[in-house]
Each structure stands twice: as structure tokens, then as C-alpha cells.
Amino acid sequence: MNNRNPYVNRGLRVLLLAWALLYPSSSNAATITATVDRPTVRAGETVTLSIAIDGANVAQPGLPPIPGFNLVGTGSSFTVDSTRGLAVQTFSYQLATTQPGDFTIPAFQFNVGGQIHTTQPIAVKVVQTAAGTAPSPWFAKIVVPKPQLYVGEISEVQVHLYFQQGTPRQYPQLSADTGFIMGKRGPDAARNPWLKPVQTQATVSNQAFNVVIFKQPMTAVKAGALSLGPATVSLSIPDRTRNTFFGPAEREVRMVAERTTVQVLPLPTDNVPATFAGAVGNFTLGFSAAPTNLAAGDPITARIQIRGRGALESIQLPPQPAWNEFKTYPPTAQIEDTDPNNFLGTKSFEQVVVPERAGLKALPPFAFSFFDPDQRVYRTLTGPPIPLNVAVASGSGSALPNLPGGSNAAPAQPASDLAHIKPHLGALTVQPLLLARPWFLGIQLVPLVIWLGLLLNRKRRERLANDPKLRRRQEVARKVPLALAELRAQAGAKNSEVFFAIVLRLLQEQIGERVDLPANAITEAVVEERLRPAGASKELCASIQEVFQLCNLARYAPVKSREELSAVVPKVEQVLRELQRWEPSRS
């Protein structure tokens, strides 16, 4: 994450330094603040001391020895706060704790531009690590850089994921009190409320850890002790017990960061300016208006820009008591972020104001008040008065234009151009929803079923037309039951000649269909010539030959008895069934 090209970094640094030196802010007095990343640490862990110097450019100062801490690393960064017009140098010092106890990082003095600046001392509590316990190879915790906030103040919550190996799988799942408005701004905020994570390293109990820091902006909307957390984070680590083609498999480890509490203070109720509308942060004001030569009743567009650090989306324009001779309309607004953390940006308003009488000389100064949570005071910014030349309106009567959303666009008193009421009661037409009725949905299958039936029938006919063998098989299968019925009738009539003619014909048809020969060509010889080579069993061949011989015998010695004829029928049926079951081999 931090592996940028060093030449690019160096160039960027030179540009920033040049910008900072040339920027008018250099005339501002430098301010120095010292902070630590957490006030309580376990013995053996590292705490980061950050010293931020605004409005100056100095080399990294060294630190004297600090009781209870060992300096194990340093770093620096250089940023430009374009909103305040300041270059900000931040020097960081990683301090390893050595023993439990209450320690104080003392005040440091720095010489910046010939002036001596002193930081505030910082108390750090070092607590005992449980005896004999080594830290887990992965754990997570919730960090609130500013545990005390004011209502409406923007801040951030961080989830620190410590791990020695593995890869974070996804953004944390964080629970928060409903008194917070959580998440970044932007179109994808609903999908992912987190900012881009930062990766760093830290030492805990003399063990090196990778640390991924997930950040999410938050704004408190109610006072009290509000809880943040727990947060669930998952990590993908190599699973040495299983291997895949590409190497060791991975398994997911879930960890929970414990809940923490943020103390949210209500805004002071003393000395609240009249032009305070809830803005909390640190802002600057830009104000302009045009046109300035106009007639009474013509609109002027006032452009107000609120720049700075704060919850921009909740900033509203305050009412302007000094604008009592102007009619005002609801403003439109848009936000432009200048900071990836959503802390800094500009909210631009456009508000239409209309002078109500001729002769007005100026649009009075626009005033905007906010609460500064760092200094704990209300501040009021005032724009310049805009000189105006307001002439008399050319028309008579109300000169106010009908502008969107304006109070003069409010609904008029009940008019008479409504269509008149209905004289008759009408029918009570309660129509149940057709789509919710199962029978209605079921009936929709009817046309589909009809069409599918016709389609399948056509397909079947086409298949028969293209397959004569199949057609013949079906014809024979249809003829056999009819012929058997006829056979029984002839047996009952003791008509031996016809009976055996039918038997012979049945055999010929069935054998012919099986071996794909014309029925007339089937004789007893076919049994040896075709059926047996085609895989017919001995029993089947013997049965067929027996029936053939019965037919031959009947030509010369006709059977007269009904019982004798009836006894032949089951044999024929059996032979035909076996023939239908038999499939000739292809060879």
C-alpha cells in the first residue's frame, strides 16, 4: 500500500514544500499539537506519538529519552490542508512500552521560525499483559481517535486488524448506536460505508504484526454515552493441513473487536448566535450575489460556499435576520469533497433572494455561525455586504415571481376549478386480484398444454413417416390383439381352416416385422435361416416351429374340436409375446 515510487514521492514532497512556502498561509503563526494513537496500551506494545506542525516547514526534531518508553521508529508525512491554506507536517515516533504503569510523555519545545512552541504533556497508561500469555496471531480492536465528541461533530471510528500472516477477506461488520450517522459520502456509500483501508506494521509484546486500519466517518446526532461495536472481521490464512493445486488451501478466521463507548456532549446552550443552524466543525465562508442592478421583484442569486472540516451534508443555511426586506427561497446545495476521509470539503449553496421594494442599497452581509469543537466556542463568519441598485418594478401589483418552492408558490386557497363531485354512489367494485388466485394461474396452462399436445402429435407422426420399420412394428402390434380376438371367435365356431390361416398369418406378420422381411416370405425355414443366427433362443425357435407344424398339420388333418382349437390360442399368444420381446442381434 505504501510502496510508491521513491522518485515520485520525492517530487511530490518538493512540490508540496514549494507550495507551502509560497502560499500566503506562511504568514500565519505555526501551531504544534502532539497526540498519541491510544491512551492505554499493554506492556510491550507500541504507541505512536504524532507531532503535527501547521504552517511551517522544519526538519524532524529529535526526542529526548522518555521514561517508560523506548524509541523504536520514526516517520514523517507532509500534507496540505487546502481549505485552511496550510501546510501540515506530521512527525511520528513509535514508542515501545517497557513496563506497566502510568507514564507521561512530557511537553516538548520546538523552535519554529524563531519562536518557541511547547506541546502539551500526554498521559499514557501501560497495563500489564496477562502472565504467560502470548498475543494471538490475529486479533482486532475498535479504536476511536477522539473518544469525546460534540453532537454534530464529524469524527471517525477505526477497526485495527492485527495479523502475522494471511489476507483480510472483507470489510468489517460494525454495529453502532442509532445515535450515530455512520459511513462515508458518495454514491457507493450504501454498498460500502468504509474508506480505503491503510496498512502498517506494529509490535505487540515484542512480536511484529501487520496492521490493516479500516476507517469509517461518523457523526453523533444525540448526546450521551453511545456504544460502538462489536465489529466482526475475517481473515484468510493458509491452511497447512490441506493443499490445492496452487499450494496450501486457505481457511477463514473470524474475530470480534470488542465494543467501545464514545462520550457525546451536547452543544453549549449559552451564547448561541442567532445565525447558528447546527453546523459543527471548523469552516470558512465565501459569499457573492448577482445581479446587482435590478428592479424590485427581480431575483438575485446568492452564492454561499462553506468550506472546511465538518459534517457538510448536515449543514443548512441559517435564516438571515438582516434580510428582512428580501424574500428568500429554499436554496439548492451540492457538496465537493477535498479529502478522501470525507472530513474536508466545500458545500455550495445557491439561494434566490428577491428585493421587495425599490431603493435598497445593499444585500446585508451573510452571517454563518458554527460551533468549533476544538476550541469549544461558537464562531460567526460574515460575508461582505453586496451593493445593490434596485429600481422600481415596471408592472403593478405583486412583483414577486413564482419561483420553485417559494413561499409564494404555496397552495392557493381552495379553487373552484376542481371537477365537481359525483352525484351517484356508484357500484362497490371490489375486484380480487386475479394474479393472486390459483385457479386463474392454473388455467393459463391450458393453451400451453394444447399446443404441446399438438406439437408432440406432429412430431410423432413425422417420426413414423420417416421410419417404416417403426410404423410396421406399430401396425403389427395393433393387428395382433385384433387377430387374437378373431382367433378365439374362430375357435368358438370350430372353423379350423380359417383359424389356422389366421395363426399362420399372425406368425408371418410378427416374424416378418422382427427380421425385416415381407410377411409372405416367412416360412418355417426362416427359423433356422434367420431367427437362430439372429440370436433367438432354442425354446423360442422350438415354440415357433411347433406352431408352424400345427398349421401344416391342420391342412391335412383339420382339427374339429373347439377345445383343441382353444388350446392352440395360448401357445400362439405365448409365441407372439416372446417374439415381441425378442430383439434380433445386428450381426
Binding site: P411, L418, L428, Q444, P447
Partner: protein, 268 residues
């Protein structure tokens, strides 16, 4: 005024809840003659300029289960005349579900919407207006008819051994269009809307009284309901602004599906 609004809102809420839970089914119990007499009485109050009393009379009819399109229409007129824009919109939209092509109803609905904001921000998009020209059942019947016609052509083609490819394709296309319109109408009718019935309603950034105000809306503004939490609804206005509003400042439509989606507080 706020208390009056809330109490009045709850009365209408109870009215609509009772109506939709049971009244529609049992409405036939009221005799046609007495219902017609009550309707004439309410009309008379309206003609005499007693609009608030007319509103009560029409509401009573609806409570008795006589919720015809004409009762809703007249209730909309009376509500508008008594300065209750939001309730007028609610009544017209209820009537719209029964007689969507009633020209006078559409004119009145458009007229009242135009009175809420004069800049056209309350105008319904053209596609939505066209969808609302028919009821959901009418869209259903149209789509089903096209589907039947399509399969009939296919069946005829099978039976006659001929191909009616152009007719089948045209009907398939029409059936698909009908299906899409039906789906859109279903979506439209089942999207939970909230209509402001307070004179001025504040939409906030969070579901808390302490949350900062995001923007103000007038009586009659129509919103989409996105979610709910306790006594608050998350809403989106036609300008795509999102925020939270108290339940007692709105009427939620449609009542039945709203009750299903957002629980016991679905009505006002």
C-alpha cells in the same frame, strides 16, 4: 396544530385500516338504500360549503364499507376544499385504483398535485401515468389474452400443418410487452408510498427527534418508502433526497401491502 394533525391523522389511519382489513369484505352489509341516502347527505353538505363535515360524512360511508370510487372521489374534493391537500391526494389515489380512466378524477388529481408545488416536481412521469390508466387486473387480462392468442396461433399452425411465423412473432412480442407492463404495474402498485398529511413535515437525517433536519416537505408531497424503524419511515422524495420522517405525519399507500411490509404502523 401538530396535535390536531396527529389526532386527525390517526382517525384517518383507523378508518383506512378498518376499511381494508374488514370493511371491503363486509361492505355489502350496509343496505344500498341507506348508503345512497348517506351519500346524498354528504353531497348536500359539500354543496352547502360545509367541507369539513362532508369529509366526515364521506369517511363514515367508507367506514361502513361503502368505499366506492365515487365516495373516494368526493372525499378527495371535500378534503381539498377544506385545505387538506395530503388527504385529498390519498383519496384520489384510492379512487384511481378502482377507476383509473375516470377523466374527472385524473384532472382533479393533477390539479391538486399542481397546487402543492407549482414547479412541476410533483408531476408523475409519463410511463407511470400510462401504467395507471388500467388496473392491475386489466393489465393481467390483456397480457393473458395476448399469451392465449400466441399459443392459439401456434396450435392452429400445428393443426393445419402450416406456419404462421409473422403472426406468432407479432403476438409473442405483444405478449412480452404486455408482460413487462404488467410487471411494472405490479411494481408500481406494490411500491409503498407515503403522502404527507401534516401542514409542514421535517425530513431528518436520522430516525431521531434530535437528528438534524435535512429538508422540509409540504402537505400532499408524495414519497417512496424505503424502510422503517420504530415510529419513523425512511423516505425518498421525487428529487431523490433521502431522509427519515415521523409516521404520524404521513399516510402510507397502499395500505394492505404497506401493512405487510412495514408492520403495525403501516397506516397513518
Amino acid at each position: 396544530m401538530g396535535t390536531v394533525t396527529i389526532v386527525s391523522t390517526r382517525i384517518v389511519a383507523a378508518l383506512i385500516a378498518v376499511l381494508f382489513a374488514a370493511g371491503l369484505v363486509r361492505g355489502a352489509a350496509a343496505s344500498a338504500a341507506s348508503a345512497a341516502a348517506e351519500f346524498d347527505h354528504a353531497n348536500k353538505l359539500y354543496e352547502q360549503g360545509k367541507f369539513a363535515e362532508a369529509v366526515s360524512a364521506y369517511e363514515k360511508l367508507a367506514l361502513d364499507g361503502v368505499a366506492t370510487a365515487n365516495v373516494w372521489f368526493n372525499l378527495g374534493n371535500a378534503a381539498y376544499k377544506s385545505g387538506q391537500m395530503g388527504r385529498a391526494i390519498v383519496a384520489y389515489r384510492m379512487a384511481e385504483r378502482m377507476t383509473p380512466r375516470d377523466a374527472s378524477l385524473r384532472a382533479n388529481l393533477q390539479f391538486v398535485r399542481g397546487k402543492i408545488y407549482s414547479d412541476g416536481r410533483t408531476q408523475i412521469p409519463m410511463w407511470k401515468s400510462m401504467l395507471r390508466l388500467a388496473t392491475l387486473n386489466e393489465w393481467t387480462v390483456l397480457t393473458v389474452a395476448l399469451v392465449w392468442a400466441f399459443f392459439s396461433v401456434l396450435a392452429c399452425a400445428e393443426a393445419a400443418g402450416r406456419r404462421y411465423a409473422r403472426s406468432a412473432l407479432a403476438l409473442l412480442f405483444a405478449a412480452l410487452l404486455g408482460g413487462m407492463a404488467l410487471a411494472a404495474a405490479w411494481q408500481d402498485q406494490n411500491t409503498t408510498n407515503a403522502i404527507i398529511v401534516a401542514k409542514e413535515a421535517t425530513v431528518r437525517f436520522g430516525p431521531l427527534e434530535e437528528s438534524q433536519a435535512a429538508f422540509q416537505l409540504r402537505d400532499g408531497a408524495e414519497l417512496d418508502v424505503l424502510s422503517s424503524k420504530d415510529d419513523w419511515l425512511q423516505v425518498r422524495d421525487p428529487e431523490k433526497r433521502v431522509g427519515w420522517i415521523r409516521r404520524d405525519e404521513v399516510v402510507v399507500l397502499p395500505m394492505v401491502s404497506a401493512a405487510r411490509h412495514i408492520g403495525k404502523h403501516a397506516t397513518l
